[in-house]
């Protein structure tokens, strides 16, 4: 039995819901509310996830926090064809490289610029906007002459970088300045099992 602690407006939670939907996995969703720019979490939640962030995934005995670790786990455990996370070292490491972008400039830039302006998080908007532009520039350069970030198909690298790129306008970025990123977003929206979230059109859960 899989349980996911998430919030509908959280892009990091949405990454995981998206892969769960694509892999057609059943799960129980538990909403974590936002209060004054912070997750409203109790002691029981902090025992599961001492960072106090979302998402957290529970799969029987295993408790995992962090969207990257959860994407990695679901793909490795439940995608027997290794379509979403290849088994070979170099390709898997290239996936990790883009998960690292998702954890860095996508997070310190695209995520934070949106979180400060939309949800009242603390932080420095100037550096968030700078990092967000860098994230989009790096994605744009990579996608200018290829359809997906790694290999010739969508992988968890794409799912990890996609949400905060697709939500960039809520952080004050004009996505028309990054046309290859826009085309990639449209390709992701056509993946079988795709779902949306508030701010990203598509069938929502």
């Amino acid at each position: 039995m899989i349980r996911l602690y998430h919030r509908l407006t959280s892009g990091n939670s949405y990454k995981v819901r998206l892969l769960l939907s694509i892999l057609q996995l059943e799960y129980e969703a538990v909403a974590v509310e936002l209060e004054h720019g912070r997750n409203r979490v109790d002691e029981a939640y902090l025992r599961l996830n001492p960072r106090g962030q979302i998402p957290t995934l529970v799969d029987d005995e295993l408790v995992l926090w962090g969207s990257t670790a959860i994407l990695f786990y679901l793909a490795k455990k439940y995608d027997a064809e290794h379509r979403w996370l290849p088994a070979e070292a170099a390709a898997a490491a290239e996936i990790m490289q883009w998960l690292e972008l998702a954890q860095n400039e996508c997070n310190t830039g695209l995520f934070l610029a949106r979180a400060i302006q939309r949800f009242g998080y603390e932080g420095d908007l100037t550096t968030a906007l700078r990092d967000g532009r860098k994230a989009l520039d790096v994605l744009e350069a990579r996608l200018r002459d290829r359809e997906w970030l790694v290999l010739q198909r969508a992988t968890i690298a794409d799912l990890a970088c996609f949400p905060y790129a697709a939500l960039a306008s809520e952080g004050g970025f004009q996505l028309s300045d990054w046309p290859a990123v826009q085309g990639w977003i449209e390709r992701i929206r056509r993946i079988k099992g795709f779902i949306g979230m508030p701010g990203i059109a598509g069938p929502e859960i």
Copy 2:
């Protein structure tokens, strides 16, 4: 032939040098200088690594940026016994979880507090100090009753979280407030093949 672009004072570069040393891998090191709080990189470097950060690893045809992706790659490719990165899904995902801490609060906290104060990086010191305390608190809680972050042995999870914890005093943190973290740092320093860096005692490269 492995080539590593790095800087001696960079904890993220050091993580990789540490694993290279432990795995007894030969490599060529290329220093990237710091200038006004930024890496001095040219167009050739940006073609290898569009983020412009360090480290970057080149192994024959493969180019990888980001310390987490590089640790993952080296362990997966060159550690045939899977000692540093287990093959099984749940254990591997737990490793990813701690790599995620290394990419988040260790980075937005411990790394940034040091970088702002010591190297003149831009950023908000208040949130950096808050995130750094959280990183140390999460590590402390985990290590209070166990020796290593995942499994009963050191893995790349420990190597990824260790450097900026060990350098925390340069970011203004008093490590004596986190005694379990201090004990873990000492255990890591006794790993066969351990090397140091400026600020972390041990044989340096």
